[in-house]
C-alpha cells in the first residue's frame, strides 16, 4: 500500500512537472496583465523545437535551448499583438495555438518525413534520470529509503528545475524590484507609467520569462518525459495549467499545489483503470478520465469561490485614444 502510494506520488511529480512550469509561465504573464491561453501552443512549439534540435544535434541541452527560443519567439508575437498593438489577448492566444498545431506538423513532415513526428530520441538527446547518491543502498531502509530512492531520486533535471522554480518565482515576484513592477503593472498600469516605468517593457519581460518557462515545459514533454515529438503532444496541458493558475489564485505556492493535485488525479486515474470494484465491477474509463475536470469544476464552485485575478488583466493599456 505504502509502496503504491509512493509510486503514485512519483508519477504525480512526473506528470505535474510540465503543468508547474506552464502554470508559472502563465503566472508571470498574467501577473503583468496579459492573459495567456497560448501556453498550450508555446509548450507544443517548445516540444517540437526541442525534439527536432535534439534529433539533429544529438544533445538534449541544445534541444532545450531551441525550445526556449521557439517559445520565447511566440511569446514575443503575443506581446507584439497584445502589448504593442493592443489586440485581444484571447484571440492572440487562440491564433498562436492554432498556428503551432499546424506548423509543427508541417515542418516536422518537411524535415523528417515521418508524418510530422520527429525521430525517436536516444542517449544524450534526452534528459535522463539523476540518481541521488546512495539511492541504491538506501532503497531498502523502511519508509525513508523508499521515499528517498523512489520518490526523490531518479527524476531528470527538468523535474527538479520545475520544483525549484516555485520558490524562485515567489522570490522574484514578491521580493525584487522586477516583481514589484510586474505586480503593479498587472494591477494598475497607469500607476506604473506615471512612476516613470515603461509598461510595455515590463510586460514584454514578463512574457519572455513566460516563454522561457513554457519552452522548458515543452522540452520536458518531448526530450525528458517522452523521447520525441508527436503531433498535439501537449494534449490540453496548457489549459490545465491555466486552470491551475486560476485555482491557485495567481500565487506560486498554491499554484504548485493545484498542479500537484491535477497531476495526482491523473496518476491515480492511470492506476484506477481496469480495477474492478466489488459489486460495481469495472469503472468505466471515461468516468475516471473525467475526474480531474469534474473535480476542478466542483472545487471552483465550492471551495475557492470567486477567483479574482490581477485587476488590469486582459485589458490593453491605452494611454491615448486616437
Amino acid at each position: 500500500m505504502f509502496e503504491t502510494l509512493i509510486l503514485i506520488l512519483d508519477a504525480t511529480l512526473r506528470v505535474s512537472t510540465p503543468l508547474i512550469l506552464a502554470a508559472l509561465a502563465g503566472l508571470f504573464s498574467e501577473r503583468s496583465g496579459i492573459v495567456d491561453i497560448g501556453l498550450e501552443g508555446k509548450m507544443l512549439a517548445g516540444a517540437f523545437a526541442a525534439a527536432a534540435a535534439a534529433a539533429v544535434f544529438g544533445s538534449a541541452w541544445l534541444g532545450l535551448l531551441f525550445a526556449i527560443a521557439a517559445s520565447v519567439f511566440l511569446a514575443l508575437i503575443h506581446g507584439f499583438a497584445c502589448i504593442t498593438h493592443r489586440g485581444d489577448h484571447i484571440v492572440s492566444g487562440v491564433a498562436i495555438n492554432t498556428i503551432v498545431a499546424g506548423l509543427t506538423v508541417t515542418l516536422g513532415l518537411d524535415w523528417f518525413n515521418q508524418g510530422g513526428q520527429t525521430p525517436a530520441l536516444t542517449g544524450d538527446a534526452r534528459f535522463t534520470p539523476i540518481i541521488f547518491p546512495f539511492a541504491e543502498q538506501l532503497a531498502d531502509v523502511p519508509v525513508i529509503g523508499l521515499i528517498y530512492s523512489e520518490l526523490l531520486s531518479g527524476h531528470n533535471i527538468l523535474v527538479y528545475l520545475a520544483f525549484a522554480m516555485v520558490p524562485t518565482t515567489y522570490w522574484v515576484v514578491f521580493k525584487t524590484r522586477f516583481g514589484l513592477r510586474l505586480r503593479a503593472v498587472g494591477e494598475n498600469p497607469h500607476a506604473v507609467d506615471t512612476a516613470g516605468i515603461s509598461v510595455a517593457l515590463v510586460r514584454y519581460r514578463a512574457l519572455i520569462i513566460c516563454g522561457v518557462l513554457c519552452g522548458i515545459a515543452g522540452a520536458y514533454l518531448s526530450t525528458a518525459h517522452n523521447a520525441g515529438f508527436l503531433k498535439d503532444m501537449s494534449a490540453g496541458k496548457g489549459y490545465m495549467a491555466l486552470a491551475a493558475l486560476i485555482f491557485g489564485k495567481w500565487r506560486p505556492v498554491p499554484v504548485l499545489f493545484a498542479c500537484l493535485l491535477f497531476g495526482f488525479l491523473d496518476a491515480v486515474a492511470v492506476r484506477l483503470q481496469g480495477v474492478s470494484l466489488p459489486g460495481i465491477g469495472e469503472v468505466p474509463v471515461q468516468a475516471i478520465e473525467v475526474l480531474p475536470y469534474v473535480l476542478t469544476v466542483l472545487l471552483l464552485a465550492g471551495f475557492i469561490g470567486k477567483a479574482v485575478g490581477p485587476k488590469a488583466i486582459g485589458k490593453p493599456y491605452v494611454k491615448e485614444r486616437a
Binding site: 489586440g87 484571440v91 506548423l103 486552470a243 468505466p284 478520465e289 469561490g305 477567483a307
Partner: protein, 365 residues
C-alpha cells in the same frame, strides 16, 4: 468638439483586407519554406473554395457550423462572457439531435422530426451551457475555466454513451445506426435540382438556412428587444445594469443558455444534415474557430457570416489543396487559419491606427 469619422469602406473594407492579405503573405512564406509554390497553392485554395458549385457548397457547409458557433461565442460576448465551451455545447447539442432522430425516425415524418430535432439540439446545447453559467452567476466560478472543463467532460460523456449505449451492434467504431431518411435534413441540391438549378453535389443542407435565420434572430434579439438591451447593459457595464434594476445573474444564465443553444445547432447541420448518424468528434474544432469568427465578425451577424465564409473557404480550399497536392500536409491549412486569426484578429490594430489616423486628419483638415 467635431466628430470626424473614418469612412466606412476603410474600417470595414480596406483594413480587414490588408490584414488578410498579410496573413496570406506570411502563409506564402511558409509554403516557400517547405518548398511549395505559394501561387499554385493559392490557386487551388481559391478554386477549391469558390471555383465550382460543389466547392462553394462545401464552403457554405463549413460556414454553417461556423455561423452557429460564431453566434454562440458572440452573444455571450455581448454580455461580457467568454464562452470557450462552444465545442462541448455543439457536441452535446448533436447528441440531442441524434437521440431525437434515433427515437422518431421510424415513426414520424420529416416535417415533425425536423423542428423537434432543432429544438432538441438547442435544448441540449443550452443545458450543457447551463452549469457553467449557473456557477458563474451564482458562485462566481470563472466561466472560461468551467467551459473548458465542460468541453473535456462532454467529450468523455459522448464516448461513454456512444461506446456503451448508442453504438450500432456489429459496428467497429462507436457510431450509431444510420437514421431513416425521414430524419435527414434535405440537401440544398436536392431542393434546387427539381427547380432546374444545379448547385453541385455537396453536404450543404437546410441547416444553412437555419444558420442565416439564426443571424436574423440574433440581430433582432440583441439590438431590438428589451432583453437584448439588458444583455448589452450587463455586458458593457454591470454596475449600471444593477442600477437599472437588471438582474445580472439572470441575464448571465439566459445568455449562456442561448449561446449554448446556438452552438448546439451545429448538431443539426452535422448529424441530421450530413452524417445521418450519431458519431464521435463531429464538432472538429468548430467551437474554437467560432471564437475567431465572432471576433473577426466584430460581433455582428453580417460580420459573422462573412468571417464564417472566409473560414469555411479555408477549410474547403485547404481540403482541395491537400487533395490536389498530396505532398502538402493538410495541417498547413491550420497554419493559414491561425495566421488569419492572428493578423485579422489579434493584430487588427496594426494598420488601423495609422490608416484611420490618416483619414481622420484628412477629414479634419
Amino acid at each position: 468638439m467635431s466628430q470626424a469619422k473614418v469612412p466606412v469602406w476603410v474600417s470595414v473594407g480596406l483594413i480587414p483586407l490588408l490584414n488578410i492579405l498579410l496573413a496570406f503573405f506570411v502563409s506564402g512564406l511558409v509554403f516557400v519554406a517547405i518548398g511549395q509554390d505559394p501561387f499554385e497553392a493559392a490557386g487551388y485554395l481559391l478554386y477549391g473554395a469558390f471555383g465550382y458549385d460543389e466547392g462553394i457548397g462545401y464552403t457554405l457547409y463549413y460556414a454553417t457550423n461556423l455561423i452557429f458557433t460564431g453566434l454562440a461565442v458572440s452573444i455571450a460576448f455581448k454580455a461580457g462572457l467568454f464562452n470557450i465551451g462552444g465545442e462541448g455545447q455543439a457536441y452535446i447539442g448533436g447528441l440531442g439531435v441524434g437521440l431525437l432522430c434515433l427515437w422518431l425516425d421510424s415513426s414520424m415524418p420529416l416535417i415533425i422530426i425536423a423542428p423537434l430535432a432543432i429544438i432538441g439540439g438547442a435544448v441540449f446545447g443550452a443545458a450543457w451551457a447551463y452549469i457553467p453559467a449557473y456557477l458563474q452567476a451564482r458562485r462566481g466560478s470563472h466561466i472560461v475555466i468551467t467551459t473548458i472543463m465542460f468541453n473535456f467532460i462532454a467529450s468523455s460523456l459522448m464516448v461513454y454513451l456512444m461506446v456503451n449505449w448508442l453504438k450500432e451492434e456489429g459496428m467497429m467504431s462507436p457510431i450509431s445506426r444510420t437514421f431513416q431518411e425521414s430524419a435527414w435534413l434535405p440537401y440544398l441540391h436536392d431542393i434546387f435540382t427539381p427547380l432546374g438549378l444545379d448547385i453541385g453535389d455537396s453536404p450543404l443542407n437546410l441547416a444553412f438556412i437555419l444558420a442565416l435565420l439564426g443571424c436574423v434572430i440574433y440581430w433582432a434579439l440583441v439590438w431590438h428587444t428589451r432583453w437584448g438591451y439588458q444583455l448589452r447593459t450587463v455586458g458593457t457595464n454591470p454596475t449600471a445594469a444593477r442600477y437599472a434594476g437588471i438582474d445580472n445573474a439572470k441575464v448571465t444564465i439566459w445568455v449562456m443558455l442561448i449561446s449554448g443553444a446556438f452552438a448546439g445547432l451545429v448538431g443539426v447541420n452535422e448529424i441530421m444534415g450530413v452524417n445521418h448518424n450519431l458519431l464521435l468528434n463531429f464538432t472538429a474544432g468548430y467551437g474554437f474557430a467560432g471564437i475567431a469568427v465572432a471576433l473577426m465578425g466584430r460581433n455582428h451577424p453580417i460580420g459573422i457570416i462573412l468571417a464564417a465564409i472566409l473560414f469555411g473557404a479555408l477549410y474547403q480550399g485547404g481540403a482541395e489543396l491537400a487533395f490536389e497536392i498530396p505532398s502538402i500536409t493538410p495541417e498547413i491549412v491550420v497554419v493559414i487559419q491561425g495566421l488569419v486569426i492572428l493578423f485579422s484578429g489579434a493584430l487588427e490594430n496594426m494598420f488601423k491606427g495609422r490608416i484611420e489616423g490618416y483619414f481622420l486628419r484628412k477629414a479634419a483638415a
